[in-house]
Symmetry: D2
Subunit: 351 residues, 4 copies
């Protein structure tokens, strides 16, 4: 059986990691091309011995890359503003598409990708909600739905708290990411929909603050925020997102049910090492979501590739992302206005 | 030096414990009397060998008890609706008063106790915010204010989650407790004021659900609720209160600052024992706040008694409780109305 | 009921704490006297306001103190070399005696105290194996024997690792303590006898090293040592004792049975606070056994006093200490000789 | 660059996993063949769709497999008794060899492999001490040697405790594994040599017991054992090995130095999930060393393959295994005889 010919678009921090994942963890895929418009990244890729070793061609133009002979799939890891257009271009050429979340910060545009996917059922299109592939979150899902370890879940608390970034990378990237609840809380919102069994939002409120990045004020954004989502049917989710943690990437989720509670990663760790010295006992914390979710990305890529080469169903529905985005934007609006944003019983915004 | 003659009013679950604390942990106090109007409790106390051994007189009338020869202080541990009147009666007789929180669910009434205390400066009057005396919370306070371990604190998360009560005790008691945010979150609100250095509330919102106690609906209350308080100056606190935990009394607090985070009791434990067996590794959780805060109650009682016998300042200001109550009631109103409750920059409610 | 008149002998670090425990935690006892031959300690005690407040008389002569009017009990907290003689003197006067472990480093002398106690059944005599009164160790005991949570226990690992002492206190004290396995591991040996249900020793071996206190070489002692005890019947205990930990007082015990394992204090903590900052996540560790076992000492004192005033059986048998000492000395001999020390099936040393 | 053609010998539990690792985690290797003499395993492999998909040829004869066209390397994962002969056969044909530990239970035979490797410097020969490739153990190594976080290490405690095996697999396998200290503690011994910086053994003692597998008595083995190794120069290591844990695969290591302690995996976990319910809070434990060390095997395989294809030095010296084996056998002898086994200052056994 021949491996799947795949290309990675975007060679930022995550694009490079996706190439690595495909090379080292996904035997049924062969990375044939990468593409970036950033001249530094082009240079870096052209000088990369490993890329040469594995025969990866470097493109500086997305359309050219789509025309790479024998290309069967793309992994889109560019900035959010081109996710939708690049997905649509790939789909229209019959190229299977794994697109980083979110499909777009504009819901209509995101919906256009969903529509295109529905119209091309032979093309596999998936949005990269990587936490859905994490072993611990899957175990929590099994415990909730198969083992019913906690009765009926009714409350989710979920955090995405990034290590403080002093390099300026995050702030440069912030202008195009849709705001803290759209960019940072999107996985937490997705997890709450999963564990609460696809509830319909009823009302949201949020509060935020600027602690390290006053320059975000011009973008109408904050660097730390808390948001609450009330769902129809007595379910609740609440989130804390932060860009300014001192200790590492701190991502945890708690799911409370009628008979118990599941805690995922409430005490984050770098590895299994604890150091005992004059300061007491301490462990290091993973610096980025990559260290926390590296295995999840590998599983995601393998399941995406297998769905194609073995013509199986994709593990995630593309539509889920639309609801996630609606909630993210409602929280962001609540943050900016200080008012409650409300939805009707079908989940349509009431304004 | 003669010990302080003190009486405990109310012989419910906590009243009995306060007697125990005074007998076993407070050498400068002598429990001379207890008082309750509940006939079962009167009977229980009259048959109690330990009370007989230590010479504790049992009263069924509060005024009679206040007239006990040589009585110098009372610890009021009755239901909230009589806290204020009992405190006022004691203060008017020059009897030092330690009153369980809250002074009242009615702010004007609570203020009347504060006023009476201010008018009788020789009488020591304190409200029992017991967590202020907990070794871990005090250590967190030292780390925040003395050691400045986390920079400037700007965010507090605090939970008070009770073990599910199948006995009906909690529901009977619920009718008079002022609602989940007033009864259950009051310590969390107090902690947020402490660690955020007495911030002024700006806006609150809350969402709740009924999972185990549908009978609370008639009381306009819920059994699980999440609330967010935004303070003026970019500070935020958020709370989760629950009456329905399966695993124990789960009370934790996190304080996030510009340079770090403090976590208090994020993994609650009964003791130092872990059992490893076919189910993995597990530890038990304290069933009630008594096990979590028994030492804090002892320190509270000792510091209250010492303030009297050595004529020192009380460790807590009575006024703090008024702000705590205002926020609790605002959260409770947000819970019931679904609307944001707002305050002006002086902390006065805008309605 | 009148409280028990008790005196504390020895006002070193622990003697002072025992006075505190009796004053603050043991309502049925009244500290009427203390005794020390150390002039600094005498001065300190005479200037102590609390001792004056509670009416504690300071003696510099043990016999004078034994003659204190109305004295009913003593708590002996002197150096090990006078434990036995002071106990015998008290017993001979009919004074109830709580003696710090060990009764003596000489087994014959220790046995003489056991014999005296047996000949004076109306006098309560107990050796202070304080860990037997610790809530976690008792819970472990319940789980082993009542709940049978781990099947049949066959293996105990137990550590007593002290924080490094730079003050010289420990080294001064080392000359009279009988060696690291007699002084430091004695509680661990006692715990192994408890949880393994009074097994009979068969063979011991030990290895040690000097890392911080080369001056111990002259005392034929070490500052870190590992020892193994094989018992008849296929049971094993092994111990690590250290005088040189950087992080605190690290005392843990694991009990392995045929169906599970109990872990007591495997991750030691100072309190419930965790600090997350640039170094990761850390907690402090209790600096001394006092912080770890303060509550155990209070329970020990209360149970000792209750056994007297209510004429109940003592919670611990005095004889247990003899076997503990035999094993401690056998390990110490193995440490010095490098040879295995062996016992016959009755637990008598084979040399 | 063409990938390395490699074969896996032995298709037991671990052999199958090694094939998986090579397929999914090692892009520079291509599994061209597997070999087993077990008829069930042959059948299983011939029916394996994945093996067919990836073009893996199944051999039932080792010599035939060595003659597979283009074969460049083998991963020997058979039972210990044929490790040495299969390694020698591969080396003599110039085929790079990764051999599971130990090379042999007979030291002379193990030495013959070392000698053969030394005589064929162009052939890469490595013994699979997989823990040396584990991220946490490597981090501990960095902290010990690069960061010097704990001063000078002088004490290692290390456990290898297996989940109880009710299938009979372990007992069948026990006859050929050299005994509990040779089979089970070999990695712990290796770790102690690493962290104590290649110390020379001086004396060993051990004690063991039979709790679940009385049938091991005929093999002169036990199912739980404790061993102590004293090294020249005041360093000590001690080990606990068990075949009978109820809760999972419990492998931990502690390294104590003059200024601190490192703890590796002292609280083992299956993943990041904690379940809070009526039993308290619990987490599952990894059932086998595979789950604990899966990533380490992937790194080991990648570093072995890279050393070949990029002609770099192997990450581990083959000779280390000889010292490990000497200590394992000395502990095993101490276990059987009850006597101390001793070594001279060059590490030669004194008998």
């Amino acid at each position: 059986m021949e491996p799947l010919n795949i290309a990675v678009v975007g060679l930022g921090r995550m694009g490079k990691r996706h190439v690595h994942t495909l090379l080292y963890r996904v035997p049924r895929a062969r990375v044939v091309a990468v593409c970036t418009t950033d001249s530094n990244e082009i240079q870096w890729a052209k000088n990369n011995e490993e890329y040469e070793e594995f025969g990866i061609k470097v493109y500086d133009n997305y359309d050219d890359m789509l025309a790479h002979p024998g290309l069967q799939a793309v992994w889109i890891s560019t900035s959010t503003d081109v996710h939708a257009s690049q997905s649509l271009a790939a789909i229209s050429k019959g190229i299977h598409t794994l697109c980083e979340k979110p499909l777009s910060t504009d819901i209509a545009e995101a919906q256009s990708v969903v529509d295109a996917a529905n119209q091309n059922p032979s093309v596999k299109v998936m949005a990269g909600f990587s936490r859905r592939f994490d072993a611990s979150y899957r175990d929590a899902g099994d415990k909730v739905f198969q083992q019913q370890s906690i009765g009926v879940p009714f409350m989710v608390r979920s955090n995405t708290c990034d290590l403080r970034d002093e390099t300026g990378f995050f702030v440069r990237y912030a202008a195009r990411n849709g705001g803290i609840f759209v960019d940072c809380a999107i996985h937490d919102i997705d997890l709450s929909l999963w564990y609460l069994n696809n509830p319909v939002p009823k009302a949201c409120w949020a509060a935020g603050t600027l602690q390290h990045h006053p320059e975000l004020k011009d973008l109408s954004d904050v660097d730390n925020a808390v948001g609450v989502v009330e769902f129809w049917g007595g379910k609740i989710a609440y989130f804390y997102c932060s860009r300014t943690q001192a200790h590492g990437h701190d991502v945890c989720t708690e799911i409370t049910g009628t008979n118990g509670k599941l805690m995922v990663n409430v005490i984050p760790t770098q590895n299994n090492v604890v150091l005992a010295d004059e300061l007491g006992m301490r462990h290091e914390v993973q610096p980025e979501y990559w260290q926390r979710f590296e295995d999840a990305f590998a599983l995601e890529a393998n399941e995406f590739v297998e769905a194609i080469v073995k013509n199986k169903e994709l593990p995630l529905k593309l539509e889920t992302g639309i609801t996630v985005m609606k909630i993210g934007q409602a929280l962001q609006q609540a943050l900016l206005t200080g008012e409650v944003t409300r939805f009707d019983e079908k989940g349509e915004r009431l304004d």
